[in-house]
């Protein structure tokens, strides 16, 4: 079985002292930031991106992945204790988790969240390891037309699953695609839409755009909102759940993991969607649905398992196809490209150490979260008492230094500022930045494959539907769009996002 040999390769990379260190650092920073409301995981990753560039590629990705699932974990801590989801995938955890905390069972709620995350993380790691090989094999059969259609599917998924109005998400994808094209054209060397600015020769920088939209804009919006935080004084008499509770949770945990693993792979999917779906499923399947919303421990276990599984399997399309399924994965693509790695199926065969090392580190990181973070819950809670006014000036400074350090030019700072202001505008008009960043990353790739496919077919656009795999992918995109405009789904979608 190759699987074990591959995982062994991975652990050999992940278990070097330096990489253990970066994994730990990532998980720690991620948790820290996940705990602090007002700083989403995507913001953290965007801000910390530049600081990982000097690391070797594997270490850099290991650390970024650590930040990602650390934030996931930290988000559930605040959801349970303060009823403030640190990030969107923890929103459902608030419902029953916070009720448990109010009933004095904060300890078991936190523990079950951690255990569920770990179980899900372990299973998802195995899923990634087994699913990656066939996915890459399939991807190697892909040609330009298939790649183009696959990206269409990815972007459609992003539109369907975006919060807010889908027609605005479509517009944001288009704008992202367009702005992604700025810079020197790879095929002809002609500078495009650069307004003769030297700083735009290599295109609009990915880091300033991401930090502007997700860092600066986020701060300006958060500061404009009145924020109230009531802290629940929690006693940690009994941290551990009883055996009966554990037994009650196990099926919920496994169902959540399965659901999350599947939904995470879908384009546009990932952690948030998985946790919503898992909660809904548990409530439906339970013999005592009335307990949900009043501190049902399954209501914590299932979504926590699902969001962690989903977060991890959303790496599958990225690692095997080179296509990011959601905005956070788009940032990962940015990180890989700046490291000089073109994401795609060839990564697995050409750089097995990197590929399997990152996967093995995910399991390691999940273990660290349980072993190191549960005893530190007291510390995380005390962090919540730090007022926001002391935090955000530091974030502004870090955004600036991070952006500057990528190219050592203040031009990027001005780009970041522009996108920060644009981000506030997008927020005010109800347009999501996530589809934008996906389009922005995919723009050049999509154009290249489109041009190549059209060249190969001598200008015949029918090539996209005459090639079977491409046709299936396009049909799936179309189906997604049709589902989206069906009135019944529209209503349901509204309900899901309303919560």
């Amino acid at each position: 079985m190759d699987l074990f040999a591959n995982l062994a390769t991975g652990f050999a990379v992940a278990l070097t002292p330096a990489n253990i260190g970066f994994c730990f650092l990532g998980a720690l920073i991620g948790t820290l930031v996940g705990v602090l409301p007002g700083i989403a995981p995507i913001t953290t990753i965007a801000i910390l991106l530049p600081f990982t560039f000097s690391l070797p590629p594997a270490s850099s990705l290991i650390m970024l992945a650590g930040i990602f699932y650390g934030a996931q974990y930290g988000g559930s801590t605040t959801a349970i204790l303060v009823n403030v989801p640190g990030e969107s995938s923890a929103i459902v955890t608030c419902i029953d988790g916070h009720q448990m905390a109010k009933q004095g069972r904060a300890g078991p709620a936190l523990a079950i969240a951690a255990i569920s995350s770990f179980v899900a993380g372990t299973i998802a790691t195995i899923v990634i390891a087994t699913a990656s090989a066939p996915m890459s094999w399939l991807a190697l059969k892909f040609n330009a037309a298939e790649y183009f259609s696959l990206m269409v599917l990815g972007l459609t998924g992003a539109v369907v699953l975006a919060h807010g109005a889908p027609e605005k998400a479509v517009a944001m994808v288009l704008v992202g695609l367009l702005l992604g094209l700025v810079g020197i054209d790879v095929n002809t060397g002609a500078p495009r839409m650069t307004m003769d600015l030297a700083g735009l020769g290599d295109g609009i920088g990915f880091v300033p755009v991401a930090i502007g939209l997700f860092g600066i804009a986020e701060l300006a919006v958060t500061l404009g909102r009145p924020h109230e935080r009531q802290l629940l004084s929690v006693k940690f008499r009994d941290l551990w759940p009883s055996w009966a509770e554990l037994r009650a949770c196990t099926p919920a945990m496994l169902r959540g993991t399965a659901l999350g693993s599947v939904l995470g792979v879908l384009p546009g999917g990932g952690a948030a969607l998985s946790s919503f779906a898992a909660y809904a499923v548990e409530k439906k399947m339970s013999r005592t649905p009335e307990r949900f919303g009043r501190g049902a421990i399954e209501g914590v276990a299932a979504p926590e398992a699902a969001n962690n599984a989903g977060a991890q399997t959303s790496f599958i399309p990225l690692l095997t196809l080179g296509i990011p399924g959601n905005a956070i994965m788009a940032l990962m693509v940015g990180a890989m490209m700046i490291q000089g790695i073109q994401p795609g199926p060839q990564v697995m065969t050409a750089q097995p150490q990197l590929f399997w090392g990152v996967i093995a580190s995910m399991w390691l990181g999940n273990l660290m979260l349980v072993v190191l973070n549960l005893p530190m819950i007291g510390l995380w809670v005390s962090l919540l008492r730090v007022p926001y006014r002391l935090l955000f000036p530091m974030i502004v400074l870090f955004c600036c230094i991070g952006t500057y350090s990528v190219g050592n030019t203040v031009f990027d700072i001005w780009v970041m500022l522009l996108f920060g202001v644009l981000g506030v505008f997008f927020y005010k008009v109800g347009a999501e930045p996530a589809p934008f960043i996906l389009g922005f990353i995919l723009g050049p790739l999509m154009e290249e494959n489109f041009r190549r496919a059209m060249y190969l077919s001598r200008g015949n656009p029918m090539t996209f539907i005459e090639r079977p795999i491409s046709a299936v992918l396009l049909a799936m995109s179309l189906a997604l769009l049709v589902i989206l405009v069906l009135p019944a789904v529209k209503q349901k979608r509204g309900e899901v996002f309303k919560e």
């Binding site: 600081f51 517009a171 955000f392 000036p393 502004v396 005010k428 008009v429 200008g459």
Partner: protein
Amino acid sequence: MVTRLNVPDLAFAAFLVALGALAFALAGELSIGSAAAMGPGYVPRGLALIIMVYGLVLGVRAAFSGGVAFPEVAWRPLLLISASVALFAVLLPLAGLALTSLAVVICAGLAAYDVRLRENAVLALALAIFAVLLFVTVLGLPIPVWPR
């Protein structure tokens, strides 16, 4: 403000049309080529055109879907955060990281409605020292620390 227009949607539509028009103009000199051998201008101009038309459609719809005012903008955080970023861009090449950090943090701190001046000053000093130590001493970024 009483309005019969959907102002946020209209603003977004206007943004799309303006951006599409700008991109279309900028891509104007690039050759289009043919469908089989696309020039550098083919896709950008196509996209710009699609965005403009899409924006127009959204705009027309917004004009008739009525009655939403533009949400209130919290100007103080927006302006002061922007100012602090601009300050960084202007000051860094002149004054070096230490003084720039000080200025950026003080300016950004004022963006909070509950700012306390003395606390903010102390924070700025602490963060300036921290930034220099972390980014220049530990991470070794090639950023000048002092004015030259």
